[in-house]
Amino acid sequence: MAIYILKRTYQLIIVFLLFLVLSYLLFNAIPGNAFQSLLLNPDLPKEAYQRVLETYGLDKPLFERLQLYIINFFKGDFGYSYNYYPKTPIDLIAERLPRTLMLFALVNVVSFYTGFIVGKILAWRRGSKSETWITITSVFSYTVFYPWFALLMLYFFGYKLGWLPIGKFIYPEKWYDAPFDSDVVFITMIKFTVVATFIQFLAFIFTRNIESLTNRKTARLVSFVLLLLGSYFYWGSGSALEQRTYAADIAYHMILPVFTVTIVAFAGTALLTRTTMMEVLKDDYILTARAKGLSQKRIRDRHAARTALLPVVTSFIFTIITIIDGSVLTETIFSWPGMGQLILQSVTQEDIPVAMATFSFVGILALVAHFLADISYAYLDPRIRIKSQG
């Protein structure tokens, strides 16, 4: 296992260096340079322009600049943003990334959970009328043209019914005399969500081995209620009490994007689970379980679904790569100030340092996801695990 991990790490480092070179060459291909707007100023003497180019090293040969870029990349030096001048790209990413990660981590957890359950039921009820209808609905939501669908949702819930806000991160008028930065409140929210999810996850793990299905259900319900009580006390005391109204404002703005993306995203998981479940149900050990006289629900949940979980888990890790992709659209439509919006803005407004930093950052994220997917697959699939041991 250790050798396998080492080998993968070595390969990924090479791939990442290639990625850096490729991304530099891509940005280098954009016509004009950062100081083109200076040249357009008729009062500027030609020598001054030349001097600027020399100061910033833009007249050096391509290979030397590439070298400099890679060295600066590992120093974490990306220069300054043109649009938000005193801020560096790293500052901007540090500000924007938590917002994107929070939104999409929530979406992914919810959509994978519902998708897995729906897919399980779909495969189990093969050939019934409800299966046809659920399949049609999930194919529709899988292939629906996302921006269009999101705009319609925004229209319906935000404008026609008026239940939810139309985009944006906060209501600015509520924050005029706020003692906190919105980011501070948001970080508190992230900490809370992470802890809550972790506790819920632990509860799931510990109740997993309870034999009786009804007992397990009650145990899970009790743990959920305890979690709810705990969070009630957390938000009702100390510094969290002061931040509560502001946190509620942010949460209120998160509902619609989370809901919309979940509707679109759960279908992919459901369809994948259905396919793998159907393959699993043909296996011999399911027949054995039936012959032993186990209840239908137990066969479905204990024997079939657990095996079908494997590809779903890997696809869950692979979605980390597509998070940024998906976030571009979601954040543009819902005006959610996150990474996706930053990438689109920086590319369309030619804010090259930010664009380069975000692009390579997405690369790092993909790299980590790729690595995790490989390792977890090797860990979950006994065939790979045993082969690398022997």
Binding site: Q11, L22, V144, L344
Partner: protein, 362 residues
């Protein structure tokens, strides 16, 4: 299949016969899948629309000046009743400020340049997002262009882009996957690292950057999407399929009888990978159509007319938030993208049932 049926025939004819039988059997299997047939019907419908438009133009049933999807113009003459909208709501006639002016009325305050018009007169106006009528089946957009014609043009774009990029992508990935499986060693290692690299690239931001330095036209985009899709993850899947084919006895026997490497690869391994490749192709059409629509929706594509652009225009003109009052500007384009992408996906599912015997019903 009787064996003496093939007597006294050349091997070419025999293989042709076998292929025909295979096709027939697969078609019968495909016909059983309801989802696949639904998808096929949807695709056929949009193909019909795409072909119909040039025919209508060529036969002169539609004149270019009125029905051209980009530069055509037509408006509907309507008589509107001039009213004065109240300052406070609700009144007897109107409940909210959105109800005034109603469909066949016009607010006098917008007629600043016509001081001779009084309240209660009829005013002759040219309606520009005109509602559907017998002349324009789906009405006209805010510039007086026929929406139905735009939908037809959009389906031409979608088919051109989807099929071109899918063919290119699947061609590349099948070739590379087979090469990686057949030659192994260093070639394999290189190709796998390359697809790792392409998998790492975030596709939408990459397309943004490419659109920043090159004016993307439809066929440029098709090539870019095809190459990215063809070098990415599908190579890995096709390689694993080709590895399974490579160890089959007929490949060994071909090698023993003295077939060259290339010959074995092209005439023995490739045809057995083809079903999987076809499956990939159908699924990647869905992705290509969605990418094109997203790029034109964000206004990054140099294109005259497409479904994504129609949605982009209806959003920037502010009709999306008018609800269903201007439904012909909002619904047709979005539904077309969804339906065609869904159609290709469903056909892929049907083919999956055919080529993957484990999924077949009982």
């Amino acid at each position: 299949m009787e064996n003496n049926e093939f007597k006294n025939r050349s091997p070419k004819e025999v293989s042709k016969q076998i292929r025909k039988e295979n096709f027939k059997r697969n078609w019968l299997l495909f016909k059983q899948s309801k989802l696949g047939m639904t998808g096929l019907v949807i695709i056929a419908f949009f193909l019909f629309l795409a072909i119909l438009q040039p025919i209508l133009f060529a036969t002169g049933i539609w004149s270019r000046g009125v029905y051209d999807p980009v530069v055509g113009y037509d408006s509907q003459k309507v008589d509107l009743l001039v009213v004065e909208c109240p300052k406070e709501y609700p009144t007897e006639k109107y409940e909210t400020n959105q109800d005034c002016p109603a469909k066949d009325e016009i607010n006098i305050r917008v007629l600043l340049l016509r001081p001779d018009v009084k309240v209660g007169d009829t005013y002759e106006a040219f309606l520009q997002p005109a509602p559907p009528s017998s002349k324009h089946i789906l009405g006209t957009d805010s510039l007086g262009r026929d929406v139905f014609s735009q939908i037809m043009e959009g389906s031409q774009v979608a088919f051109l882009l989807g099929l071109l990029s899918a063919t290119l992508g699947v061609g590349i990935s099948t070739l590379l996957g087979t090469i990686a499986a057949y030659f192994g060693g260093r070639v394999d290692a290189y190709l796998m690292r390359q697809s790792d690299l392409v998998l790492m690239l975030p596709s939408l931001p990459l397309l943004f950057i490419i659109s920043a330095f090159a004016e993307l036209k439809v066929w440029h985009l098709a090539i870019v999407l095809g190459v990215i899709g063809g070098l990415g993850g599908s190579v890995i899947t096709i390689k694993s399929q080709a590895l399974q084919v490579k160890v089959k006895p007929f490949v060994d026997s071909a090698r023993i009888t003295g077939g060259s490497k290339l010959k074995i690869m092209f005439s023995h391994v490739l045809p057995n990978v083809a079903p999987l490749a076809l499956l990939f192709m159908v699924f990647s059409v869905t992705g290509a159509i969605a990418s094109e629509s997203v790029l034109s929706f964000l206004g990054l594509l140099n294109i005259d007319m497409s479904w994504g652009l129609m949605i982009y225009l209806s959003q920037t003109d502010g009709y999306i938030f008018s609800g269903l009052r201007y439904w012909w500007l909002i619904l047709p384009a979005g539904l077309s993208v969804t339906l065609l992408a869904g159609g290709f996906y469903l056909v892929g599912r049907g083919l999956d049932d055919v080529f993957n015997p484990r999924l077949r019903k009982r």
